[in-house]
């Protein structure tokens, strides 16, 4: 039996009370963006597989009597789902993440602006590195692996000590110097670090290297 080619059935649901339609493989975030409904994100990028690390895109889902908070970049809608992008519970998560990010990446203007949009201007948490911009969202690691096809970047250590590193913490020849990681970085943190990935360009010669 050959499957019939049928126009995919659209999924009807609401975002903030507005009726919207999504194709079956769309996520809530994609549908919202198509309908010009703003949901903040830092780790989502259209070029890479979403993996839900920043949790800023959380929305409240209500389906019948059940309600829960879910990341919109990873959740696919179902019929008659009600999505609330700015409910109290969703805002609570978002504001706390932003407040903690202010302490984690104090040097980032992007994060400051985003936090200000949600009314977060000060932080109660201690700042460890005033120069820090990287929030370990993983965009650069994913783009290097999925789009460029090499693994010049990786995360080292675990948990609070998690760091963006190169394999074995050495400048590596896997890097082709394409700069994709710099261009997808939401805070511009990689701009200063690119040389730690690809090494000193003047010393690199031969096949496979960017000149």
């Amino acid at each position: 039996m050959t499957p019939k080619k049928k126009k995919p059935e659209m999924i009807n649901f609401t975002i903030n009370g507005r009726q919207v339609q999504a194709k079956p493989d769309w996520t809530i975030l994609e549908t919202a963006r198509l309908n010009h409904i703003h949901i903040p994100t830092l780790c989502f990028h259209p070029a890479i597989t979403p993996w839900g690390s920043c949790r800023l895109c959380v929305v409240e889902l209500r389906y019948g009597k059940r309600g829960k908070i879910a990341p919109s970049c990873l959740t696919r809608p179902v019929h008659e789902l009600e999505v609330f992008t700015d409910s109290e519970r969703a805002q609570n998560v978002r504001r706390w993440v932003l407040e903690m990010l202010l302490a984690e990446c104090p040097a980032s203007r992007e994060i400051k602006d985003l936090a200000a949009r949600y009314g977060v201007t000060t932080t109660r948490f201690s700042i460890t590195d005033p120069q820090e911009e990287c929030l370990r969202c993983g965009r650069c690691v994913a783009v290097c692996h999925e789009v460029v096809g090499v693994q010049a970047l990786t995360f080292g250590s675990r948990g609070v000590k998690k760091q963006l590193e190169t394999p074995y913490r050495l400048p590596n020849s896997a890097c082709i110097g394409c700069g994709c990681c710099v261009s997808v970085c939401p805070t511009g943190a990689l701009q200063d670090r690119l040389d730690t990935v690809r090494g000193d360009l003047s010393r690199r010669t031969g096949h496979g290297f960017a000149h």
């Binding site: 949790r55 800023l56 993440v97 903690m100 302490a103 984690e104 929030l135 370990r136 948990g159 609070v160």
Partner: protein
């Protein structure tokens, strides 16, 4: 060993093994569980062996020395039980062995001083001791009885009987149905219905043909918990048998035992058990003539707590960093290498043979509705009888702590109990508050107000979780702020760091608690901390982050006055938080022995010999060394 081809051959082998056993032969079972091992059980076992080798035993037969898994009564280790005399000796030292051999094994008498005694009563056998009397041992039935390194001993005790029954009498669908009807729920912490999970995997595999994988989760990372360890070390065949039955029901050909590297004995016992099971044909091709091909392999986890999360296990098995990913898709839909995968806890797998053997109806009658069967807990902390206990679900918390645990030692009051490991909650013993619905649990199950029933739903109602089965009892000398801080610190270190609420939030919550422990902060900070905790519950990616605020949220809910005491009064009621306590010497009690002054690392205790000593509070670092060393209890904390 000859490969067994069908159920009849297994029965014949078992009968011949049973017939070869002399029922009058004395058996000495030395507990080599985690607790006893630390107390030198290996030396006791060696002493028994050499004593029997050297001695000319006058009895008809030489006694058999068995090194078994955990007996459970860890606070009384090293434990030795003798059968058929049915004697139970506690706190056995290598020096006592000669006496036991001489009087119990040769003369058939009892060594009174080694019997367990409580409140003046001496108990000869284990079954009489209150600690064991209330328990109902099903999963642990063979743990501590059989020699885990000998498959023949396990076969004598009835191992692989359910497996023999399965292909002969039941179709895979019937096995699945039995597990569903039994109401078995995952013992790893989440309490997800096992049958439902299996059904989902079977349905997915039917839609999308290909391999199905089974995983046993032996990554037991909770501090103070050793339920799975005891099963894997004491009765490894139960796990293997459960998985083979699962493979039959689910049509799987490959299974993985994911065991943490910190359990070398469990890994050793499991690998020996795997070899023996393979040799006898319980694993491999055409198991017991049923046509089922299934094999198991052991994978060692590198000791990351987060690798107890099922998607993190999958990542780890696939060779990636042990970081969880979002669900759905659930592992039963898309798991290991994109195929339906069933991940059950070691204890859950060990339940399966018993359900098949005795039937779903029998199992469903154990425990309470919605939480059937028994559960193993590791009862630790400020309780007289610490150890491993197995009780039916729905037992009251009071019974568990007072009757089995024997209550809190000394004159202290039983204050609270921390259930479910580091991400469980701290719940007070006297829970008087009427239950209201708690953020993510439906309010349809309201437990009784006074007694807390220990089952999945009642635990969730209190704001805690059942978890893997850790149970830490606390008395008035334990500060809830300090305990919450300890667990949060543990979780912060074990967080994988993938999602921001968990990585930054746990660090942030710890900052709040550190301030409280120093007596800083404002009452509004408690509200902020609760709100932050809620953000973690809602926002985190996996179970670790979602459950991590539980110790803080529950302790704020039930012990808010203790938090306020720290913040407003700058006083730690339990006398634990170092910045808020002072040590002083009662001049009326102090004998002037000078031990404290000799032990003080800061040399801030002064006084003349035979005269009351004084602590210089400004220089004191509050280490507590003086209190520990004082022979007359003259050092007080306030």
């Amino acid at each position: 060993m000859k490969r067994i081809k069908n159920a009849a051959e297994l029965q014949a082998l078992r009968q011949s093994l049973l017939a070869a056993q002399d029922p009058d032969r004395p058996v000495v079972r030395v507990c080599l569980g985690p607790g006893c091992l630390a107390l030198g059980a290996e030396k006791v076992a060696r002493a028994f062996k050499s004593a029997i080798r050297n001695k000319k035993i006058k009895a008809k037969v030489r006694p058999l020395i068995k090194e078994t898994g955990c007996h459970g009564f860890c606070s009384q280790g090293t434990l030795v039980s003798l059968s058929p005399a049915n004697l139970f000796y506690v706190r056995v030292k290598p020096d006592d062995v000669a006496e036991i051999v001489e009087s119990s094994l040769v003369q058939g008498q009892t060594v009174e001083r080694l019997l367990y005694s409580d409140n003046g009563t001496r108990y000869r056998s284990a079954a009489e001791i209150p600690f064991y009397r209330v328990q109902q041992k099903i999963i642990l039935k063979n743990v501590g009885v059989i020699d885990p390194l000998d498959i023949n001993d396990a076969l004598r005790a009835g191992a692989y009987q359910s497996l023999a029954k399965t292909p002969a009498e039941m179709s895979p669908e019937e096995v699945l149905r039995t597990v569903e009807v039994s109401g078995l729920r995952g013992r790893g912490g989440g309490g997800f219905p096992t049958g439902f999970k299996w059904r989902r995997a079977v349905d997915n595999a039917r839609e999308n043909p290909g391999p199905v994988y089974l995983i046993a989760n032996g990554e037991e990372g909770d501090p103070g918990a050793f339920m799975d360890r005891a099963i894997m070390e004491g009765d490894p065949h139960a796990v293997i048998e459960g998985m083979v039955i699962g493979a039959y029901a689910l049509g799987a050909n490959q299974g993985f035992l994911y065991v943490r590297h910190e359990y070398p004995i469990a890994i050793q016992h499991l690998s020996i058990a795997l070899q023996q099971a393979r040799a006898l044909g319980f694993l491999g091709k055409n198991i017991l003539g049923s046509g089922l091909d299934f094999d198991l392999q052991i994978n060692r986890g590198a000791g990351a707590y987060v690798c107890g999360e099922e998607t993190a296990i999958i990542a780890s098995l696939e060779g990636r960093v042990g970081e969880p990913r979002t669900r759905p898709p659930f592992p039963a839909q898309e798991g290991l290498w994109g195929r339906p995968t069933i991940i059950n806890n070691v204890e859950t797998w060990a339940n399966v043979p018993h359900i098949i053997d005795q039937g779903a109806a029998w199992y469903a009658r154990l425990g309470v509705p919605h939480s059937t069967g028994t559960k193993i807990f590791s009862l630790v902390g400020k309780v007289k009888n610490t150890g491993l206990v197995e009780v039916p679900m729905g037992i009251s918390l009071g019974r568990l702590v007072e009757e089995i645990g024997g209550g809190v030692p000394g004159q202290e009051r039983f204050k609270a109990v921390q259930t479910g490991g580091p991400s469980g909650g701290i719940i007070p013993y006297e829970l008087k508050e009427a239950f209201t619905d708690y953020h993510y649990h439906p309010p349809d199950l309201i437990p009784e107000k006074k007694e807390i029933s220990v089952d999945f739903d009642s635990m969730a109602q209190t704001g805690s979780i059942m978890g893997g089965g850790g149970m830490i009892v606390m008395d008035d000398h334990d500060c809830v702020v300090d305990v919450a801080r300890y667990f949060l610190n543990f979780l912060q270190e074990e967080s994988c760091g993938k999602c921001l609420p968990c990585r930054l939030g746990l660090k942030g919550m710890l900052e709040f608690l550190d301030r409280f422990a120093r007596g800083q902060g404002a009452p509004e900070d408690i509200v902020a901390l609760e709100s932050l905790g809620q953000a973690l519950v809602d926002g985190s990616l996996c179970g670790l982050g979602r459950a991590a605020p539980n110790p803080v949220l529950t302790s704020i809910r039930y012990f808010k006055d203790e938090y306020l005491a720290h913040i407003v009064d700058h006083h730690c009621p339990a006398g634990v938080c170092r910045d808020l306590i002072t040590y002083s010497i009662d001049p009326g009690v102090c004998s002037g022995c000078g031990l404290c002054a000799a032990d003080c690392p800061e040399a801030c205790i002064s006084g003349k010999k035979k005269k009351a000593h004084v602590i210089d509070a400004a220089a004191c670092i509050r280490c507590g060394a003086c209190q520990a060393v004082c022979p007359v209890d003259a050092v007080h904390v306030a």
